[in-house]
Amino acid sequence: MTELLRVDGVTKAYPGVVANSDVSFSISEGEVHALLGENGAGKSTLVKMIYGLVRPDSGSMTFRGQPYHPAKPAEARRLGVAMVFQHFSLFEALDVAENVALGMESPPPMRELAGRIRAVSEEYGLPLDPTRMVGDLSAGERQRVEIIRCLLQDPKLLIMDEPTSVLTPQEVEILFRTLRQLSAEGTAILYISHKLEEIRALCDEATILRRGKVVATCTPRDRTAREMAELMVGAALTPPQRHPGEKGEVALGLSDLSVDSPIPFGTSLKGVSFTVAKGEVLGIAGVAGNGQDELLLALSGELRVAPDKLRIASAPAGDLGPAERRKAGLVAAPEDRYGHAAAPDMSLVENAFLTAGVRRGLVKRGFIDWAATRAFAEEVIAEYDVRTPGPDVAARALSGGNLQKFLIGRELNQSPSVIVINQPTWGVDAAAAAAIRQAILDRAAGGAAVVVISQDLDELLEVSDSFAVLNEGRLTKPRPVLGLTMDEIGLMMGGAHGMEVAHHAG
């Protein structure tokens, strides 16, 4: 195969961090090439340089045999490089064709463009009606708009940044079929992900980055996911240990809980019911924006409901606020760490007090026992291996993974009877993620009832005993994880879009 793109010794430094150091790799025509690495390994910086968003400090690139140094994305697009970003840049109030036209240098007349969109979408098995409003589309359909926008430019190289994070399993299948077809026609694909099974299923070659450097290249089909994860992390990984125990009595119960979303354009919860027993881990999956944030708020007590809609150890608790629920034994860890779970400008000691004041007895007659609070913060830092110069640094100075370890440790070390966590390992590197999952499982083994809300299916299947899906504010009936197939999960996740997904999957 002829070489399409060669990256040679590229280096890019930002103040205080070298994002890419002497990175080299090459892609042939029609190759599906994976760029693999933990958060912060330098994947995004590398593709931004290829797409002309960032200029390298040193090193060179060659594209189709010519020296390649795009000054801006428009230049990269002209030469045949297209990119689908993880976060879409679409206008909800415009229709599909208008959105596509906005991304083009010289768009053809609307009628002609709509025809071309239909043609491309049929050719590549990505059904999309050009006259629909983007605001009415699902996340998967929005991604198709972005992909078709790229395909209309007839690209030689298509860059995809974490494309599957917003998709249901069936939608992932559709996407992969499209990508394989493109590859067969000679389009190279640079595929960024940290989902190893996907990469094994799709990619021909993989370049693994760690701390800005290329540490390995491999052929994903010949390696196990475990081997690639260890290359990515640079250390041996131990999968979480399950301690299957007896299920105890019900510790948390929701019955027909409905509540309006306080978030603009949020999703209201509609008749959510489930119970979690002592020692049980309930995993709640779902594509982002289907009520996960609202469910966390309703469980933590920031959103109040009628008393008997939510029971902690069979006592009505729906009308209790966050502090009172903590007193009753329920701790919660929200998804957003900078501003919700923690105050970014406050020290770790102050952030330790933020939730632990009640259960650790850090308040005496209204006055805060700072010495005891500091001891608690130091205990969490030591026990959960939080890398920080000390407990007095501001929370925002910690990396996402380190702060998350601190915040999860803060909740778990309050000897809670019910634990609710939204996105426990989002943006956390693999080693820290494994440690966090292990800590959650240990608490469950110790008799706590745990609810884990996550968009990472692998994570949920790893830690959960029972599994449910949140879709447009409704929760499916929880089912035992044992014996659950990927197809069944996909159907649970499909929900309102189930018909369409089933149609194309069949």
Partner: protein, 365 residues
């Protein structure tokens, strides 16, 4: 090209250096302003900052310092608690007026009875007047989500109208030969806010200001309510997650700042001012906003800032009478102080970086 970059940790050095740099810059630019007006800048600066403490009339002016600083400190501490929580009470001037009217009315109602309880009851009434006036924007905010900045500010003008009515109508001195203004408390010993140490200008208001500073410091550093105030200001969602009710916090902070402003008004009307008059209020409630920020919203810093600001008042008056400087120039001078303070304050959380390449990368990120 210069570029601002967020510091990973707030700078301790700039946290404390900011007020000093702001004062220096104000002196410099203020000096330029005075020079443009044809005055000798060094003489003006010396008159404002040096003479009141060490000059010829310092024995009298030193006392004036605390008289002016007392109400500024008292009001600024209350405002600072709210500002820390992100609750912007701009109407302390109105609460100050209402506190004075309520407290004075209680005292004047029982004139000329002599009873030791009269002054303490007046203090309570003064605090109540300010508190009640602050409750109007607080309740409108919690019930109807109105903007407390606008409502509290507009209520200042309502309070000024009520003050005029009090001075010319319901609190007018019946023996005042028809002149506007209430009876003078200097001739009503049981209701008078008398000096404790006359040479220092220390009256009960000054004592209250210093005691409040200590109490507020303890509240902010040790008490859970202080923690919640800071948390709500820095991370409102984290505060709700902690379990703070935003409505309760608004009512608490507006209430405290209103009550303290009312107290300041009562101590002023029963002491240095002596009576309710049409022009009783002299802008302490607005100047206290500058004092609160100059003192870094820290109660102990506010004590120092209040004294510094009193210095510009006392020194400014000196400069006006001795050097013929217009009083508006002094207000510009005080305004500059806040302006420079807020400008230099950026350095606490940000630092300057040189370099065009880095700026480009940040621009597209």
């Amino acid at each position: 090209m210069l570029r601002l970059e967020k510091r990973p940790n707030p700078s301790r050095f700039w946290l404390y250096a900011t007020p000093a740099v702001a004062v220096a810059l104000t002196m410099f630019v203020g000096g330029l302003l005075f020079a443009l007006m044809g005055k000798n800048p060094f003489e003006v600066i010396r008159t404002i900052f040096w003479d009141p403490v060490f000059g010829e009339f310092a024995f009298y002016l030193r006392g004036q310092l605390l008289v002016k600083a007392g109400p500024l400190i008292l009001i600024a501490i209350g405002l600072a608690l709210g500002f820390r929580a992100g609750i912007w009470n701009i109407g302390a001037e109105g609460q100050y007026i209402m506190g004075a009217i309520c407290g004075a009315a209680v005292g004047l109602a029982v004139f000329p009875t002599e009873n030791r309880l009269i002054f303490p009851v007046m203090i309570v009434a003064g605090a109540f007047g300010g508190w009640a006036w602050a409750m109007i924007p607080a309740i409108l905010k919690t019930r109807f989500n109105t903007n407390e900045i606008l409502v509290s500010l507009m209520l200042v003008y309502v309070a000024e109208t009520i003050l005029a009515k009090a001075a010319t109508g319901f609190l007018k001195n019946p023996e005042g030969m028809g002149f506007p203004g209430s009876r003078n408390f200097s001739s009503f010993p049981a209701a008078r806010n008398s000096y404790i140490v006359e040479s220092l200008g220390l009256h009960w208001g000054g004592v209250a200001a210093l005691a409040t500073a200590v109490l507020a410091y303890i509240l902010l550093t040790r008490h859970i309510a202080g923690f919640q105030i800071k948390l709500a200001g820095q991370a409102p969602r984290a505060a709700r997650f902690h379990g703070v009710s935003p409505a309760r916090l608004v009512v608490m902070c507006m209430g405290i700042s209103g009550a303290l402003a009312g107290l300041a008004g009562l101590f002023e009307v029963a002491g240095p001012a002596g009576q309710i008059s049409i022009d009783f209020n002299t802008g302490y409630g607005f100047t206290a906003i500058i004092v609160a920020f100059l003192g870094r919203l820290n109660p102990l810093g506010i004590v120092l800032a209040g004294i510094l600001m009193a210095l510009t008042y006392v020194g400014g008056e000196m400069a006006a009478t001795n050097l013929g400087l217009p009083s508006a120039a002094i207000q510009v001078f005080q305004g500059m102080l806040l302006f420079f303070l807020l400008a230099v304050d950026v350095l606490t959380n940000y630092r300057f970086r040189l370099g065009a390449g880095a700026a480009r990368a940040a621009g597209v990120k």
